[in-house]
C-alpha cells in the first residue's frame, strides 16, 4: 500500500478508507486460506481416486503376498491426531478471550500430540515388512501416508510459528489472530484428510 496518490483535499476520505481496507484485509486472508485448502484437498482427491481405481480394477487388492497392516498402533495414533484438533480449538477459544497464555498452553499441547503422531508414523514405517517399491499397494501406502505426513509436519511448523509469535507482546488478541485461525483450519484439514486416508488404506 503506497498511499502516495493522496491529494490533500481527499486526505480524510483516503484515511478512512485505508482503515477499512486494513480491516477487510484480515477477512481476505482467511478466505485465501480456504481457497488454498480447496486446492490442497484436490491433490488428495487425485491420490485417493487413483487408489480407489486400483482397488476396483485390480484383480486382487492388496496384491497377493502383502502383509496385513497392523491396526493397533495406527489406531491409537489416529485418536491422538483427532483429539489434537479439539485441543487446538481450545487455544482459539482462549485467544478470543484475550488469554494468550491459554493459547500458548493449548497450542503447545497440540504440537506435542502432532509430534507423537509423527513419531508413531516413523515407528510404523520402521517396523513394516514392505518397502516403497515392494508392490503397488506398498507404493500407494507410503506415498499417501508420506504425503499426509508432510502436511502434518508443515502444520506442526505453523503451530510452532504461532507459538513463537505469541511471545511478542500483544501480537495476538481477540481482535486479531489470523495466524491462530489459519493454522487451526489447516490442522483440521489435515485431520479430516487423515480420517479418509485411514478408512481407505487401513480399513477398506
Amino acid at each position: 500500500m503506497q498511499g502516495s496518490t493522496v491529494n490533500p483535499s481527499q486526505e480524510e476520505l483516503q484515511y478512512a478508507e485505508t482503515a477499512t481496507t486494513e480491516q477487510e484485509h484480515e477477512d481476505h486472508r482467511m478466505f485465501g486460506v480456504v481457497l488454498f485448502l480447496v486446492a490442497e484437498s484436490m491433490i488428495f482427491f487425485g491420490l485417493f481416486s487413483a487408489y480407489l481405481i486400483y482397488y476396483f480394477v485390480m484383480p486382487e487388492w492388496p496384491p497377493e503376498g502383502t502383509p496385513e497392516l497392523e491396526l493397533l498402533l495406527p489406531g491409537v495414533n489416529s485418536l491422538i491426531l483427532i483429539s489434537s484438533s479439539f485441543v487446538m480449538h481450545r487455544g482459539q477459544t482462549a485467544i478470543k478471550n484475550d488469554d494468550v497464555s491459554g493459547l500458548r498452553f493449548w497450542f503447545t499441547l497440540t504440537a506435542i500430540m502432532g509430534a507423537i503422531f509423527l513419531g508413531g508414523q516413523v515407528y510404523e514405517y520402521s517396523t513394516l515388512e514392505f518397502g516403497l517399491t515392494t508392490n503397488l499397494f506398498a507404493s500407494c501406502f507410503y506415498v499417501l501416508t508420506g504425503f499426509h505426513g508432510m502436511h502434518v509436519t508443515l502444520g506442526l511448523f505453523l503451530i510452532l510459528f504461532v507459538l513463537l509469535r505469541s511471545r511478542r507482546d500483544n501480537h495476538y488478541s481477540s481482535e486479531s489472530h489470523f495466524g491462530v485461525e489459519a493454522s487451526e483450519l489447516y490442522w483440521h484439514f489435515v485431520d479430516v484428510v487423515w480420517i479418509i486416508l485411514f478408512g481407505l488404506v487401513y480399513l477398506l
Binding site: V57, M58, P59, E60, P63, E64, T134, L136
Partner: protein
C-alpha cells in the same frame, strides 16, 4: 418484419439447407470404406457434416453480413439501439442446439451399438496383467476375471444374429511392429491377411509401451495397452491392400510403425496360410539360435523367425 424480409430469410434458409445437404454427402474427405462398420460411421460423419456445414454457413454468413451492413457511418458518433436481449430468441438458440445434440448423441449411440461397441461378452477386460512372463516379479498380478469393464468393439449384433463364428487373430504391438498370430494354425505374420466376408475378431495387446491399431479404411482404432487385452471386430468386404497404422506415440520411429491389411478371397487366404505354415516350420531352427541376443526381443524370437529382416530392423531400433 416486412414480407420482403421474410421472403429473403426463407430463401436463404432453404439455400443453406440445400448446400449443407449436398456438401454433407459429397465432401469426399474420407478414404474408401471397406467394411459395413466403416459405412455406418461414414453415415454418421455425413450427418454431422450436414449440421456443421449449416451452422458454419449460418454463423459466417451472419458475421460477414453484419460486418458489412452495420459498419459505422464516418459522421455518425451515436450509439446503436439499446437492445439488451430477447428471451424468446434466447430460448430458441438454446433449444435448437439441445435438440441437435440429443439427436447426435442418440444416432452415435446407435452406430456404436451397430458396430459392436456394446457387446459385453466379447469386450471383457481382465484388468491389468503383467506384461511378459519373465518380467513377472513376485508381486505380479495373477489373472482373475473381473469382466465388468469392456474394452474395444465386440462382435456386431448383425453378425451375432447370423451366427457366424468370427476368425480370431491375436495382434501384438511392439516397438515398432505389429505381429499377427493365427491361433488355429499357429501362423505368425507381420501382415494381416483376412478372407473377404469373414467376421474378424482381433485380440489386441502390447509388449512394451502403448500403441494403437488403426486402419483408416475400416474407420476403426483401438489402443494396444501393455497388460491389457482389447478387442476389435469387423467384417472385411472389399478385397485390396490397406495400411495398418500405429496411431499412438510410441517412440521416435512411431511414424514408421506401419504394415498392411490384405483382404483377399477365401482361396488366396488359404493358400497364403498354407505357405506360411511351411515356411515357419523351416525357419524355426534359425530363430532359436537368436535367443539371448537381445533381451527385449527374446520372448518374440520364435515368432520373429518368419521375418529375419524385420528382426534386424527391430534390433537396430531398440539400440
Amino acid at each position: 418484419m416486412t414480407t420482403a424480409n421474410k421472403i429473403t430469410i426463407i430463401v436463404l434458409a432453404i439455400l443453406i439447407a440445400i448446400i449443407s445437404l449436398w456438401y454433407g454427402q459429397n465432401h469426399g474427405l474420407l478414404p474408401a470404406a471397406v467394411a459395413p462398420e466403416a459405412e455406418a460411421i461414414d453415415g454418421l460423419f455425413d450427418f454431422m457434416m450436414i449440421i456443421a456445414t449449416g451452422l458454419f454457413l449460418l454463423i459466417q454468413g451472419l458475421l460477414i453480413y453484419t460486418a458489412i451492413r452495420f459498419r459505422r457511418k464516418p459522421s455518425d458518433d451515436t450509439d446503436g439501439p439499446p437492445i439488451e436481449g430477447n428471451v424468446a430468441l434466447e430460448i430458441v438458440w438454446t433449444g435448437i442446439p439441445t435438440v441437435i445434440v440429443l439427436i447426435l448423441s442418440i444416432y452415435s449411440f446407435e452406430v456404436y451399438s451397430t458396430i459392436g461397441g456394446l457387446n459385453p461378452k466379447a469386450a471383457k477386460d481382465e484388468g491389468p496383467q503383467p506384461v511378459a512372463e519373465e518380467t513377472q516379479s513376485e508381486q505380479g498380478l495373477m489373472a482373475s476375471a473381473s469382466d465388468y469393464l469392456a474394452l474395444g468393439l465386440g462382435e456386431s449384433p448383425a453378425n451375432q444374429a447370423k451366427n457366424l463364428t468370427p476368425l480370431s487373430i491375436d495382434v501384438n504391438a511392439i516397438q515398432y511392429a505389429f505381429l499377427f498370430t493365427y491361433p488355429d494354425t499357429g501362423v505368425v505374420a507381420s501382415e494381416l491377411h483376412v478372407p473377404v466376408g469373414q467376421p474378424i475378431q482381433l485380440n489386441i495387446s502390447a509388449g512394451d509401451v502403448i500403441h494403437a491399431f488403426w486402419v483408416p479404411q475400416l474407420r476403426l482404432k483401438q489402443d494396444a495397452i501393455p497388460g491389457r487385452e482389447a478387442q476389435l471386430s469387423f467384417t472385411p468386404e472389399k478385397p485390396g491392400t490397406y495400411p495398418i497404422i500405429c496411431a499412438e506415440l510410441c517412440g521416435p520411429y512411431h511414424g514408421a510403425m506401419k504394415t498392411n491389411l490384405i483382404i483377399e478371397s477365401q482361396q488366396d487366404y488359404e493358400a497364403w496360410l498354407q505357405q506360411q505354415q511351411v515356411a515357419q516350420s523351416e525357419s524355426l531352427d534359425n530363430a532359436v539360435a537368436l535367443e539371448n541376443s537381445n533381451s527385449l526381443l527374446t520372448p518374440y524370437a520364435n515368432q520373429l523367425g518368419v521375418n529375419q529382416q524385420l528382426l534386424d530392423e527391430l534390433k537396430a531400433y531398440s539400440q
